[in-house]
Amino acid sequence: MLNFSGRELKPHSPHVLETEGVAKPLLSVRNLEVEFRTSRGLVRAVRDVNFDVAPGEIIALVGESGSGKSVSALSVMGLLPKANSEARGSITFDGRNLLSLNEHEMRTIRGRQISMIFQEPMTSLNPVLTIGLQIIEPLQTHLGLTTAQAEARAIELMSLVGIPDPESRLNSYPHQFSGGMRQRVMIAIGLACNPKLIIADEPTTALDVTIQAQILELMRDLTRKLGISLIIITHNLGIVARYADRVFVMYAGRLVEEGNITRIFETPRHPYTMGLLLSVPRLDQGARSRLNAIEGLPPDPSKEIAGCPFADRCPFRIEICSQPPQLEFTDVGTRSACFRSDEIAEGKLKWRSPQGGGEVVSLPKAKTALVELQQLSKSYWVKKGGIFGRIGEVRAVADLDLQIQAGETLGLVGESGCGKTTVGRLLLAIDKPTRGSIRFDGQDIYQLNKADFARYRHDVQVIFQDPYSSLNPRMTVAQMVEEPMIAHRTERSREARQDRVRSLLDQVGLRPEIAERYPHQLSGGQRQRVGIARALALNPRFIVCDEAVSALDVSIQGQVINLLIDLQKQFDLTYLFIAHDLAVVRHISTRVAVMYLGRLMELASRDELYENPLHPYTRLLLDAAPVPDPELERQRPVRVAPGEIPSPLNPPQGCVFSTRCPLASAECKAQVPQPREVRPGHYVACIKV
C-alpha cells in the first residue's frame, strides 16, 4: 500500500483518494510543527510532520528519545502543556481540525474518539482511586451512563482485556495489580467509549517479554475486532515488524522515512533507517560481526540545523546534505528524506562492512572456572501482616549452581523476579548468601582474610543499568573515575591518578575534557561510558554488567555493546552480562543461563541455546520476543505464555514454571526439577526434556 502523505498534497485531495483507492483517512496530520519555549531557548520538537491513519490500520511511529514521536502523539490528543508549547499545522480527525478546537471541544474527543495508553503502567493509574472508578469515569463523562450501567460496562471491559474475576477487582486499587494487569486496565479505559483511534505510547517498554507479548497481542486482536485504528509509538523495531502495517521513522523531530513495513525493513532507503536496522542485535541471528553502530549523537534539539539532521552521523554525507531534504517517493514506493535515496536503491551506498570478520565473541580456549556458584541461595524475609504477623520467605535465588569461565561472557536472562539482579549483588558481595558458596579463583570469598577480601572487591567491578542515577550528580567525571583508585590505594599520587583517568576515558572513547564535567552535562551514552571507565579503574578481572545497555537508545546501545566487546578482548575480562533483552544477550554472550523465579531453567552455549532451546520457558521467552523482520514475523506462530509471573513470596509447588508451562502435568508439581546435562554443556531443569 502506498501512502499519500506529503506537504505538496492537500488533505483529502480527491485525486489522491482515487488513485490510491484507499478509504478516507481517519486521522491526517499535515505540516505539524511543535515548539517548546524552554530556558535554553526555543526547541522545535516536531518539524513538518505529515502522516495519515486509515480506519482500522495499525501504524508505528519509531525513533529514539527526542525524535519527536511522543510529542506528535500528544499534539493529536491536545495534551501538550499549553503554557510553554505551541502546535501548528493541521490535525484532521473525522473531518475536524483538532488544532482549531477549544479545550471544551477537545474534551469531547479525548477518551471518547481517541484514547491514549501510556508507557508506565505503574504510574499512569491514580494510586488512591479504585480501578472500577477509573474505568467508569470516561463512561460517565462521555456517555452519561448511570453508575450501575457504567459498572456493568466496566466488568464487561475488564473481562474483554483478560482481567480475571472482574466483579471483585472493581474495588481493587492499582497497587494490588501487577504491571501487566495495570496495562490491561489502561487498555480497558482506552476501549471504554468505543473510540475510533487508540494511541499507544511505548505501551510495553516497562513490561517483561512474555507480558509484552500478551499485551500487544491483546491490543492487536481487540483493535482488529472492533475496527479501531492504532498508533504504536515505540523504539523497538521488533514490535514494529510484528504488529504494524506501516511505519514512520522519525529523527530529530522530522520524518525521515515512511512506508509499508516489509519495504522499509527489506529495502530501507534512508541511511538512518539502514543504520538503525544494522545496529540492533538480532535474536534470530548469531553475532557473526560487530554491530554496525551509528557513531555520534543525535543533534541538540535547541540548535537549528539548516540541512539534513542526520548529516553529522551519516557515512554518505555529501555537499548537498547541507540543504534540507524533502520526503520523496523511492523506487519501492516508500518515501525517504534523503538526497541519495536513488543511489541507495541502486546499491551504490552501503554501510561500511563491520571491521574484523569472524566471531565477535568466542569461547575461551582453556576452561578454567573463574567464578563458581555452589548451591547459592538468597532469601529475604518480609512481614506478611500485623505486628504478630507471619514472616514470609522470598527465595530470590534458590540452589543455583553455575560456573563462569575465565575470559567468557555469561549471559544471565530472565524476567522480573527471576533473581538475576540478586545473583549480581551476591557476586559483588553487597549481599551475603543465605546458603551456598561463591568461589573466586577456587577460593570461597567468605573465607578469605581481610586483605584477600579487599583484593576480591578490587578484582570484581560492576556496571549499572541506569546511567542517570548511578553517577553522583555532585562529582565530576574525574572524581568518580578516580574514587576507586583512592579507596583501594592503587595509585597514590594525584598525578598518577589523573594520568590514569585520562587513559581510561580514552579507552572508553571519551574526550579528555569530559573529565571536568558533571553527569548532567553528559548524554546517556556518555554517562554509561563513564560508568564503564569507573569499573575499569582498578584493572578488574571480572565485571558484573547489570542491564548495562538497557536504558540506552538503539544507536547508542550498539556503540556501548561494541565497546564492551573491545574492552573484553583488550583487558582479558570476564563478564556476567545480566539482561532481559534476549537479542543483546545473544550478541554478546558465549554462554547463556536462563532463570525463572530464582531458579536456573536452562544453561547452554550461546548458539546451542538460541538454535535449540529445550526448556519450555526458554522457548516461550524466545517466541515472545519479536524480531525486526516482518517476513519472519508473519511466518512465525506467536505463542504467548499464559498467566502472570507468580509472586516469589508464594512460588508454585514443584517446578516453578509449571503454572504457565504448556507441557506441565501432575508430575511437575511433585518435585523441583534439577538441572541435568542433556547434551554436553547443555543443562535443562525440566523432567519433560
Partner: protein, 321 residues
C-alpha cells in the same frame, strides 16, 4: 487496623516515660526553685529556716530519685500533683484553661485549612500568574510577620472602628456561643493567617508536583472535566503531605499560643505555661509537658490513621503496607 492502633498506643508508654525523665531532670538543672522565687524573688530577706521549712513542705528537700518516683506513682494513678505555686491540683489549673486554648487551636486550624487549600491549589494551577504572585506575597507575609503583631493590628482596628475590647474573662461557648465566638474569632484569625501561610505553600508545591504525575495525564487523556481532574485526581494525592503539617501545627498550637493569648487577654495554656516556668513551678511544668506530649502523640496517630484512610496503599499491619 485495630492491631496497629493497639501497637501505637503501647508505643506511647516508652515515649511518655522518656519525656517524663528528660523533663524532670532537666528542670532540676535550672538554678533556683519555686521557694526561692516565691520567698526571696523580690529581694526580701527570709531566714534560711523558713526557706527550709517551705522546701520540706513541698518535698524539694528529698532525694531527686524519691521526688521522681513520687511524681511517677502519682501519674500512674492519673494524679498530676499540685501546683507548687498556688497549691491547687495541676489538673484543675489545666482544665480551667484547656478548652479556651483547644478552641482557639481548632478554630485557627479550620481557618488555616479553609484559606490554604483553595489558595494553594489555585496558586499552583495558575502558576506564574497574578493569583500565584498574590498568593506568594500573602504567604510570605504570613510567615514573616509575627502572629501577635497581626493580633495587635486586629485589636487596634476593632477598637478604633467598633470600640470593641477583648473581655477580661473568657465567655464559655456553652452559655453564650455568639459571645464566645465573637471573642475567640480574632485570635483564631491572627493565628490562622500564619497557619494558612505555612500550609498554602506546602499545598502549592504538592499540587504542582501531583499535576506533573502520569495519572493526571491519564485523567486528561480520558477527557475528564477540570473539576474532576483537580478535585478527585489531584487533590486526593496532594493533600496527603498537608495532613502531616496540619496535625503537627495543631499540636504545636497548644503550647504555642503564648503571645497571642497575652495580646487578646485570654487565660489559656500558653500563659499558664509561661507563668509556671517563671515561677519554677516544677510540678506544673512537668504536668503540662506530659500533656503536650500526649497531644503530639495523638495528633501523630490521627495523622497516620488519616493517611491510611486517604491512601489505599497504606494499610497498617498487612503485607501490602
Amino acid at each position: 487496623m485495630l492491631n496497629y492502633i493497639a501497637y501505637r498506643l503501647l508505643l506511647t508508654i516508652p515515649t511518655l516515660l522518656g519525656a517524663a525523665v528528660i523533663t524532670f531532670f532537666l528542670l532540676r538543672v535550672i538554678p533556683g526553685d519555686v521557694v526561692a522565687v516565691k520567698l526571696t524573688g523580690d529581694g526580701a530577706i527570709v531566714s534560711q529556716a523558713v526557706i527550709d521549712a517551705e522546701r520540706a513542705r513541698l518535698g524539694l528537700d528529698k532525694a531527686l530519685i524519691y521526688q521522681f518516683s513520687d511524681w511517677m506513682l502519682g501519674l500512674l494513678q492519673f494524679d498530676m500533683g499540685r501546683s507548687m505555686w498556688t497549691g491547687r491540683p495541676v489538673i484543675v489549673e489545666i482544665s480551667q484553661r484547656f478548652w479556651t486554648t483547644f478552641q482557639v487551636a481548632l478554630m485557627s486550624t479550620a481557618i488555616g485549612v479553609l484559606i490554604a487549600v483553595p489558595l494553594g491549589t489555585l496558586s499552583a494551577l495558575k502558576r506564574g500568574g497574578a493569583i500565584d504572585y498574590a498568593t506568594r506575597i500573602f504567604t510570605m507575609a504570613g510567615l514573616s510577620v509575627p502572629g501577635f503583631w497581626v493580633g495587635m493590628l486586629i485589636l487596634i482596628w476593632l477598637l478604633q472602628t467598633y470600640g470593641w475590647q477583648p473581655p477580661i474573662t473568657t465567655i464559655p461557648f456553652i452559655s453564650d456561643p455568639a459571645g464566645n465566638l465573637s471573642q475567640l474569632i480574632w485570635p483564631a484569625l491572627a493565628v490562622g493567617y500564619r497557619f494558612s501561610a505555612v500550609l498554602a505553600r506546602i499545598i502549592r508545591s504538592t499540587v504542582l508536583e501531583v499535576l506533573g504525575e502520569d495519572y493526571i495525564r491519564t485523567a486528561r487523556a480520558k477527557g475528564l472535566v477540570p473539576r474532576i481532574i483537580i478535585g478527585r485526581h489531584a487533590l486526593r494525592n496532594a493533600l496527603l503531605p498537608a495532613i502531616t503539617v496540619i496535625g503537627l501545627e495543631f499540636a504545636f498550637l497548644f503550647g504555642g499560643l503564648v503571645v497571642t493569648e497575652q495580646v487578646f487577654n485570654l487565660n489559656g495554656l500558653g500563659k499558664l505555661f509561661v507563668q509556671a516556668v517563671a515561677n519554677r513551678d516544677f510540678i506544673m511544668i512537668q504536668g503540662m509537658v506530659m500533656l503536650f506530649a500526649v497531644i503530639y502523640i495523638f495528633a501523630n496517630l490521627v495523622v497516620d490513621l488519616l493517611y491510611a484512610v486517604f491512601d489505599p496503599r497504606i494499610r497498617y499491619g498487612t503485607a501490602e503496607a
